[in-house]
Symmetry: C2
Subunit: 243 residues, 2 copies
């Protein structure tokens, strides 16, 4: 089975991304068997009339995503992972969608309010700067999965009323590209139990997320209270730099 791909120098996206995506699709479609070696970087480059550096960049992406494993001197191989990969940064919507659920939201509040002290600190707000506050229930297939409060600088989200199902989609270029989550467990109090439809005292996942835009600014502080029986949080970790 051979791999076909036509580089298009006119396209909007760079060649190495086109190639990476193309290879990723081929891998997921099973064009290459598990544990099989990819064409070597030189072969790939030669066959597609690209430089080796470009071919290598494409493979770099796939290695980062865990789709491919490199073995020096031997070759690049399909990673031996049958299961579904990836749970990078994804909003709730995208996250659930991937798992085949139909995610919906039920707004409890979308307003511009004053900022609490911890919010001022986390978002590095100017004195007196206000925040957009989004409060909602998250549902999957009509089952409540989480209660979530998001706070963003007013300047980042001037009109919270306009936010649709996906906050990140609405934010566009200002959406977070990196985030830090603190994940804890807590027992549901009466109010949370009522909102989520669980017994009082049930164990919940309590997730605090700080989201950073591409420019490095912290643009999102979110507290999520998740039913753990329906939702679990997946994290992909990478090794620290070797000193």
């Amino acid at each position: 089975m051979s791999f076909h791909f036509k580089p298009d120098p006119q396209a909007a996206s760079p060649l190495y991304l086109q190639l990476a995506q193309s290879l990723a699709t081929a891998i997921r479609d099973g064009v290459f068997g598990a544990d099989e070696a990819l064409p070597s970087e030189r072969v790939l480059a030669g066959r597609l009339a690209l430089s080796r550096v470009t071919a290598r960049s494409a493979i770099d992406r796939l290695v980062e995503q865990g789709l491919i494993v490199r073995r020096q001197g031997a070759g690049s191989f399909i990673a031996p992972r049958a299961e579904a990969p990836v749970a990078r940064l994804a909003g709730f919507s995208e996250d659930l969608h991937q798992r085949g659920f139909v995610p919906t939201s039920c707004w409890l509040q979308r307003a511009v309010t004053a900022a609490a002290p911890d919010e001022q600190l986390a978002l590095a707000l100017q004195r007196g700067e206000r925040v957009a506050r989004l409060e909602r229930l998250r549902l999957a297939d009509a089952v409540v999965m989480a209660y979530e409060v998001s706070v963003l600088p007013h300047s980042v989200l001037p009109e919270p009323q306009q936010v649709g199902a996906s906050l990140y989609a609405h934010l566009g270029a200002q959406a977070p590209v990196r985030a830090q989550q603190h994940i804890r467990a807590m027992n549901a109090d009466a109010r949370l139990a009522g909102l989520l439809g669980v017994a009082s005292g049930a164990a919940l996942l309590f997730i605090t997320r700080l989201g950073y835009a591409a420019c490095g600014r912290c643009v999102e502080l979110t507290h999520s209270y998740c039913r753990s029986d329906y939702y679990d949080c997946v994290a992909e970790l990478q090794s620290p730099p070797r000193p």
Copy 2:
């Protein structure tokens, strides 16, 4: 303030890593002010007699680590993050150590046993292949923080008795470099409550970790039951590839 660095082509580690580490140190030492621009890639390359690609590779590393933010057309800037960065893949030991605790372990079991079905599957074991089973309490400053059961292929860990405080240190080259964690919350049953010294029914973090070695093989399956009042799980997330 200027930045000094002598590239050493003889050294074991590649130039781009030397430079990255050197820059990282300089940044953490405050040689560059927050929000200040780094020397441009061309300047860096010229001054250090490196190619621009090499200088760029070094900066790539720092961007991945969140130390630096690139702005096309403008420059590369110190990321505006005062706080402690990074919680990549770290074993419990390293993790707690970074926070200033003294981590210790109390072994409950270190043995070679048969593999349960889910363990066979997760670790992709041969039929009948046995596993090393490690069971321990994790303590920080003499307080129990977690109960943990790790299972590894016997071939990866032939002598579980020899494992010291840090499993990853003992594994050496076979230690995981990538991991996937599933994080859930659960109420402590009587046994867990007893082990961890919490009330029965208290909310615990229940973390299942699959660790993958550099060669791509899954070498670790760990279940952790963590007291959430003392321990929280930090995850750094990155954005998905833009399609």
